[in-house]
């Protein structure tokens, strides 16, 4: 039981009679932080902005992309379960987010996953990492939804823990969207898996700190095979117009699904617990809060029952008619004729919201002043070290285990800035997911803005225009005012960026209590952005000898929370990179113009690892060397190490042929863009030189080999 004394008193005053144990379990589930957002709800209102392309009232965000088609988008995490049972925890995370997309009435077409784990050298980290990847892969592969992108980061703040963020994209016709309406006497159907004791109390489990003696029964069990059949069953039911309203069963199980769907439809629902198909003999309190996976709640017209039965029989999917829609706005649970619970829907879904205190964390001031450090002058060695660190190393070990191609939509495959999927209406969809807890630790406001900007830059590099975003705000214990301050700062950052760039925030999640016995995690907002390409997506061309390297943007002394400081000096101190809105917009627009005019051979943005990593990546992916003149890079008088590894925003690296150079320069000049031609591609070595001194000199083939095999080596050493 996680209800506080205040909440119990509030409840008693509202009900004014003896509360039954079933009622108490319903309230306990729905009033958990996980389901009710009682700490964050007040602050999230500002975030949800809409425009004329967005549609509300669905479990996932919905965006119209033309007169006929919509994209749906949702993001979730499954952190607590993945820390304890990484395979099942990550797999059921995918299962949950896929159900949200399905609930809107669209087919899931792609998945992305953002994974964060503890210290790389920790054996437990490797065990969690390996099994999370395995869980994500096995679930997505089996249901036939490709995993097309994501990110990976290791940081000691996640020791013995994991952040498993999954984003799902759906695609469908606007006319097939579930309208979500209901009338009195409509039937309430529970479809899918049998309800069992697995996952009882999962939402309360996720609304508390992770302790060593946590009960494993709170972890759900994945079954992707049943999920695949449910996807096909639901889509066929939609095709036959059988579903009036729909909700998936996730956190809080039936308690939350029923109360929330009744609330959104402004109706009441009465269910008979005895009608539910269960795995084992269970008491009503267990049935009503079980989080058994692969279940959907449907509201149908009585006249459609025959068709529903026919389609469920075809796919061999069990279902029960568990109750009916009423007009009294009550959530009623009976066992045959005995009433077990009778609660006003309004009370169940609207717990007293909490006012959390916030205060600026002490560490913030300490980090503002950069710690003195002794730079290592062997920058060649440093670059190798950084590139082979799994935070920057090539991620093929992960996505090689994911089916990236099923559905035959994946035009730009994993490994580039953003993935691109083709749609049935001749348009293309670009997707990216970005987080940066190190930046957010130093400055949660600008850190969150930076994640948003990076996701947009990645989208821009494919030639797409951002059209919508989802956020996932993951923080420690909200009862801690310093944690809550960071949360609020991130919300403000995302809100400001979203408004300034007119990118609607169409959905999101908040996950608190991400803390272990080692303490709070770093503030970890993750941003997912989608963009649309009306014509052909940008395809990179092979860079050749003599092609030019152009850098757009200004490099500043912004190394607070950088990969360089973290990896080499174990430090976070310094200034967090800040996005200048005007500059960012201007640079994104000019990149789109250059791409539209087909002037660029290859492009990437500068983010983690700074310009040194961005240029090295371009060279490695093209198997070609480059001579870069540090004197030519626009910067604010930085030492070489800072110049190479600063993570200032709004910077792009472009490869341009001699043939297109003049036109490129004239377009850049016409818009007064800060840029320079900083190098030339040739031969086999990546050389950064200052005056005539080689600051870095590396053979690209050797570097490429190290970059590609680093994670593989790390994982084969510790099984």
């Amino acid at each position: 039981m996680t209800l506080t004394n205040n909440e119990l008193t509030y409840l008693k005053n509202k009900i004014d009679r003896i509360i039954t144990s079933t009622e108490l379990q319903i309230i306990n589930a729905e009033w958990s932080e996980h389901c009710s957002y009682k700490s964050s709800k007040n602050h999230l209102q500002a975030l949800r902005n809409c425009n004329n392309t967005t549609m509300t009232g669905h479990d996932s965000g919905v965006i119209k992309i033309d007169d006929d088609y919509v994209i749906t988008l949702h993001i979730e995490s499954h952190n607590h379960p993945s820390a304890i049972e990484p395979f099942g925890g990550s797999a059921t995370g995918i299962g949950g987010v896929v159900r949200d997309i399905l609930s809107s009435g669209t087919r899931p077409i792609a998945l992305l996953n953002g994974l964060r784990f503890g210290d790389v050298n920790n054996a437990n980290t490797k065990w969690i990492f390996k099994n999370v990847v395995n869980g994500v892969g096995s679930y997505g592969n089996c249901i036939g939804v490709p995993n097309v992108g994501g990110e990976l980061e290791f940081n000691s703040c996640y020791n013995d823990y994991a952040l498993v963020d999954v984003m799902c994209i759906g695609f469908g016709k606007q006319k097939s969207l579930i309208h979500n309406r209901a009338n009195k006497n409509d039937l309430v159907i529970l479809l899918g898996n049998f309800t069992g004791r697995d996952g009882v109390g999962g939402s309360q489990f996720a609304s508390d700190s992770l302790k060593s003696n946590d009960i494993v029964s709170a972890i759900q069990i994945p079954n992707p095979f049943i999920k695949k059949l449910i996807i096909e069953t639901i889509l066929e039911l939609i095709h036959h117009n059988c579903i009036k309203a729909m909700k998936d069963l996730g956190g809080g199980g039936l308690s939350c699904a029923i109360s929330e769907i009744a609330d959104s439809l402004s109706v009441g629902i009465t269910i008979d617990i005895n009608k539910i198909h269960t795995k084992q003999t269970m008491i009503p309190e267990e049935i009503i809060t079980s989080e058994s996976q692969e279940r959907m709640l449907l509201i149908i017209d009585k006249n459609n029952l025959k068709k529903v039965n026919q389609i469920c029989t075809k796919f061999d999917i069990p279902y029960s008619i568990i109750g009916t829609v009423t007009d009294n706005n009550m959530f009623k649970v009976t066992n045959n004729n005995k009433t077990l619970a009778s609660l006003p829907i309004d009370l169940v879904v609207h717990p007293p919201l909490l006012h959390r205190n916030s205060s600026v964390p002490h560490y913030i001031h300490e980090l503002k002043n950069e710690k003195k450090y002794n730079p290592n002058n062997n920058l060649t060695e440093i670059l190798i070290q950084m590139i082979t660190h799994p935070n920057l190393a090539n991620k093929n070990w992960i996505y090689g285990q994911y089916d990236q191609e099923v559905g035959i939509r994946t035009v730009i495959k994993p490994g580039y800035d953003a993935a691109v999927l083709r749609l049935d209406n001749k348009k293309y969809l670009a997707v990216s997911m970005d987080g940066n807890p190190k930046h957010c630790y130093v400055n949660p406001y600008f850190g969150a803005i930076g994640c948003f900007d990076e996701a947009c830059r990645n989208i821009i590099c494919t030639g797409a225009t951002p059209i919508g975003m989802v956020d996932h705000l993951q923080f420690g214990n909200p009862e801690n005012p310093e944690v809550f301050w960071s949360f609020l700062q991130s919300v403000y950052g995302i809100k400001d960026y979203s408004q300034e760039f007119n990118i609607p925030c169409i959905g999101g999640k908040v996950s608190f209590y991400n803390e272990t016995r080692h303490g709070q995690i770093k503030p970890s907002p993750v941003i997912g952005v989608i963009g649309i390409i009306d014509h052909e997506p940008f395809h990179e061309q092979q860079i050749c000898d003599g092609d030019n390297l152009i850098m757009i943007g200004y490099t500043k002394d912004e190394l607070g929370g950088s990969e360089y400081f973290y990896q080499i000096f174990d430090s976070y101190s310094g200034k967090c990179p800040q996005v200048k809105f005007q500059t960012s917009k201007q640079h994104m627009n000019i990149v789109l113009t250059l791409l539209k005019n087909k002037l660029i051979k290859s492009i990437t943005d500068c983010s983690k690892g700074g310009l040194a990593f961005a240029i090295a990546k371009l060279c490695m992916m093209n198997q070609i060397g480059c001579i870069v003149n540090l004197n030519l890079i626009p910067h604010s008088k930085l030492n070489n190490d800072k110049l190479l590894f600063s993570e200032s925003h709004s910077r792009f690296i472009l490869a341009v042929s001699n043939h297109n150079l003049d036109q490129t320069i004239s377009i850049l000049n016409s818009q007064c863009i800060l840029f320079n031609i900083i190098g030339k591609f040739n031969s086999n070595n990546l050389i950064f030189k200052q005056n005539n001194l080689h600051v870095i000199n590396l053979n690209i083939k050797t570097l490429h080999n190290k970059w590609m095999t680093s994670i593989n080596k790390m994982m084969s050493n510790g099984k």
Binding site: C142, N223, F225, K228, L229, G400, Q401, D403, V406, I408
Partner: protein, 226 residues
């Protein structure tokens, strides 16, 4: 021409195969849910990839006991061209329509990557438009894709020209780098790589033409006959 795509619970490449057949080659292929009967005038059968019955017990084994497979065995005897892709190949092997077996990859992981295969038999209905040793860039996506045959079976496969595709490089320790085989009559072909994922230029980063020829080969025969 009647092309049938067999759909089991858990098949997940059925719609992809139909897309390539219908949109790229202008056929009018039909899905056959595993409880339905395939009509006797069927011209070509394709068993697509996926995770039939969740790969429970082992990939393909449960689907191979489905009544529709009994019928497909009969159609195979009547020399109807049948192509099994990925899980479809596993089903054909479990149904004893093709020899050998498919084992877990030596990495013990699911493997999804673009590789090259080479054509080693151009006499099957699915390879007539290809040339011997022609290279096909194509993706694999499987957890149990390591073809294994004992020495006797391998000798017989070689003797009867039943090896249809071989991996250019040793990617998963398959026996003799085998990526696809056929039966003695050469009308039943199974392959682990996914031609439906490599047949359009938009999603194939290298060259889509060779893969498309696998599907075009069947069309060619029937156009001539018709």
């Amino acid at each position: 021409m009647n092309v049938g795509i067999v759909v089991f619970p858990g098949s997940n490449c059925d719609r992809d195969v139909k897309h390539v057949l219908d949109k790229t080659l202008n056929t009018n292929s039909k899905f056959y849910w595993h409880t339905k009967r395939i009509p006797n005038n069927i011209d070509v059968i394709i068993i697509p990839g996926g995770f039939t019955y969740g790969d429970y017990l082992r990939p393909g084994i449960i689907a191979s006991h489905s009544p529709i497979m009994k019928h497909i065995q009969k159609l195979a005897q009547q020399k109807i061209p049948i192509l099994g892709i990925c899980n479809g190949f596993q089903i054909l092997v479990e149904s004893n329509l093709l020899p050998g077996t498919l084992l877990k990859n030596t990495s013990l992981n699911f493997m999804c990557q673009w590789i090259n295969i080479k054509v080693t038999n151009t006499k099957t209905p699915f390879t007539t438009k290809l040339q011997l040793q022609q290279k096909i860039p194509i993706p694999i996506a499987n957890g149990e894709g390591r073809y294994y045959a004992d020495k006797k079976t391998l000798t017989s496969l070689q003797k009867n020209n039943q090896i249809v595709f071989r991996y250019e490089n040793n990617i998963n320790n398959s026996t003799y780098n085998i990526a696809g085989i056929c039966n003695k009559d050469m009308n039943v072909v199974g392959m682990m790589p996914h031609p439906e994922r490599a047949s359009e230029s938009e999603i194939n980063p290298i060259d889509n033409k060779p893969s498309l020829l696998i599907f075009k080969s069947i069309l060619k025969q029937f156009t001539i006959e018709n």
